[in-house]
């Protein structure tokens, strides 16, 4: 299992930031642990209905959990053993809802002012104007939500969430209700805003790209369970197991047997069907182990078809092109390999490379699998792909 989800005995080191442990069977099964230090963005990623939003709502105190502990900056907000459940309004959280949940009868300015609490009226107004300026809404303060575009409403929601000087900022799929162009602009703005945020930020999303772009750490959740967490590229390149690999949309997942290790530990040798593969060295697997392995489709390298070079000896395999799908500037090519009746190998290459090499369905091609990009994972017991 993933090493990332094990904690150091539950000692709240320095007691800074957010620390959440939640366990329950029903109504939504949860078995999650998340930590987020101040100034860091943690992305909770996983399929819909995986309990991501429930975790955010629990942090905000909007829903109770059977067994749980939530603390922020050293103060306990929720603890089922100690029977502590601080009311939502006494937890300083900023929450940006998926639907934004703006107060429809109040102007943008008043929406923010409502969250400014007990300050004197004048101070509240000037702070609200400042916050709306921060999210680039100056000039639109008097508009009511229905007079604002989706992207503008989202910014009001962000300004309102920041108004309380929250100890934690919670973002529940905040970019899902706007069009693609607006989403990309909001992503850029949030990245810029981040440098000014000193609190932990928890972002719920089912969009992997969004998580990679915006977060410092990523936590993969499935059926309410933390499967793996770590820096985005570490999770993407080193999924803990087949289940995580599927969730992060890796297509090339295969089974193999460890055949041994190269002399001096430069690689690990795999027996894969009729092929022998060299993979990145992993001392934690021994010869004879049944394993899963993955390779990103971008690390499958096409052999030149006209005037083949002799240099492509790295894990060469051959097969017939089954289908091709163009995705923007790249083409996803699926290859039915010789001696493999398992699912096809996927390769992604640029459109011009596909054209230059006259790639077409039905053609025979040879490809190389970059050994350094072959990641070996332990085989999960009795795991079915249908579960995903």
């Amino acid at each position: 299992m993933g090493e990332g989800d094990v904690t150091e005995g539950g000692v709240a080191e320095g007691a800074k930031g957010l620390d959440v442990t939640l366990r329950q069977e029903a109504p939504i099964p949860l078995n999650a642990h998340i930590e987020c230090p101040p100034g860091e963005v943690l992305a909770l990623v996983g399929p819909s209905g995986g309990g991501k939003s429930t975790i955010l709502r629990a942090i905000a105190g909007l829903t109770g959990i059977t067994h749980g502990h939530i603390s922020c900056n050293g103060s306990i907000w929720y603890d089922t053993q100690k029977r502590i459940d601080v009311a939502t309004r006494h937890r300083r959280v900023g929450f940006v809802f998926q639907s934004y949940a703006l107060f429809p009868h109040l102007s943008a300015l008043d929406n923010v002012i409502e969250a400014l609490g007990a300050r004197p009226a004048g101070a509240r107004k000037s702070r609200a104007l400042e916050l709306l300026g921060l999210v680039r809404l100056s000039g639109l303060e008097e508009r009511r939500p229905f007079e604002l575009s989706g992207g503008q409403q989202q910014r009001v929601a962000v300004a309102r969430a920041l108004a309380r000087d929250p100890e934690v900022l919670l973002l529940d799929e905040p970019f899902s209700a706007v069009d693609r162009a607006t989403r990309q602009r909001l992503h850029r703005e949030l990245s810029q805003l981040r440098s000014q945020l000193r609190m932990p930020v928890v972002l719920v999303t089912h969009d992997l790209e969004e998580a990679v772009q915006l977060s410092d750490r990523m936590s993969i959740l499935h059926h309410g369970q933390t499967l793996q967490d770590g820096p985005p590229f570490q999770v993407l390149n080193h999924p803990a197991n087949r289940q995580v690999a599927r969730l992060i949309d890796l297509k090339n997942i295969f089974q193999a047997r460890v055949a041994g290790h190269g002399a001096g530990g430069e690689f690990t040798r795999l027996e894969w069907g009729g092929n022998k593969l060299e993979a990145r060295y992993r001392s934690d697997f021994a010869a004879g182990d049944l394993v899963d392995w993955v390779i990103p489709s971008g690390s499958v390298i096409l052999h030149r078809r006209r005037g083949p070079s002799r240099g492509v000896r790295e894990n060469p395999v051959h097969g017939v092109i089954e289908s091709m799908v163009r995705l923007g500037e790249t083409v996803s090519v699926s290859i039915l390999l010789d001696d493999h009746d398992t699912h096809p190998l996927f390769m992604s290459i640029s459109v011009h490379a596909a054209a230059r090499n006259a790639i077409a369905p039905g053609e025979r091609i040879g490809v190389s699998l970059r050994a350094d990009d072959i990641h070996i994972m332990p085989r999960l017991p009795a795991f079915h792909d249908d579960d995903l």
Binding site: R89, A101, H105, G117
Partner: protein
């Protein structure tokens, strides 16, 4: 023209509204946001005055509030007078037969406020009373105004229940609607016509004002 009867009608409408609007808001919020097994039957009981003939409702109220009933006896013990055939008895009956007209539109209005908006208010650090005044009440306002109009119009116009529970005591329980019936029985068509016209104008103005308030608040919400 029986001005005394008009006064009784208006007084009854004002008192009914004064009691029923706060009571209705509490009941409406409860029914809008709570989930429990017996709820359909609570809602059915509240809707009964809509479907029962006024005489049936009047009969049960007469029996239920009469001097022989526990409520009637309790009231007599406390205040020394019977409840039926008094203004107070009429007011109790009026509150009961107006319940669905107050609760149903307000319940729909509170149901229309999304959970996320109320959650967002709590996340903004707003206290429950502040959420009520600043968020819930303005958003439910059109429903509350609809309830106001329905209760007012229904109280002014109710005949059967009023006659059963209150009789026709001048200055006490004789409302304008009863007075009009009285005048027709006495072949005083001129007085009946004048009172009917006045009742019509009052109702029209009341509903007009309420509609105006509703449309203005709609304009504010978009």
């Amino acid at each position: 023209m029986d001005w005394m009867a008009f006064l009784v009608s208006v007084k009854l409408a004002v008192w009914t509204l004064a009691i029923l609007l706060p009571l209705g808001i509490i009941a409406a919020r409860h029914l809008a946001w709570r989930r429990y097994t017996g709820k359909p039957f609570v809602e059915a009981a509240l809707a009964l005055p809509l479907v029962l003939p006024p005489t049936v409702l009047g009969y049960y109220l007469l029996v239920g509030l009469g001097s022989a009933s526990p409520i009637g006896q309790l009231y007599k013990g406390l205040f020394g007078s019977p409840l039926v055939f008094t203004f107070e008895g009429l007011l109790v009956a009026s509150v009961i037969f107006n319940l669905p007209f107050a609760v149903q539109p307000m319940q729909r209005a509170f149901e229309g406020i999304s959970n996320e908006v109320r959650d967002a208010a709590a996340c903004c650090g707003m206290a429950p009373w502040r959420i009520f005044w600043r968020i819930e009440l303005p958003l439910a306002w059109p429903g509350i105004m609809t309830a106001f109009v329905l209760v007012f119009a229904h109280t002014i116009g109710e005949f059967g229940v009023v006659l059963m529970v209150g009789g026709s005591i001048p200055g006490e329980t004789r409302t304008a609607a009863i007075a009009i019936y009285d005048r027709v029985q006495a072949f005083d068509n001129a007085a009946a016509g004048a009172m009917s016209a006045l009742l019509l104008v009052i109702s029209l103005i009341a509903i007009g004002i309420a509609n105006l308030a509703t449309s203005k608040s709609r304009g504010r919400h978009g």
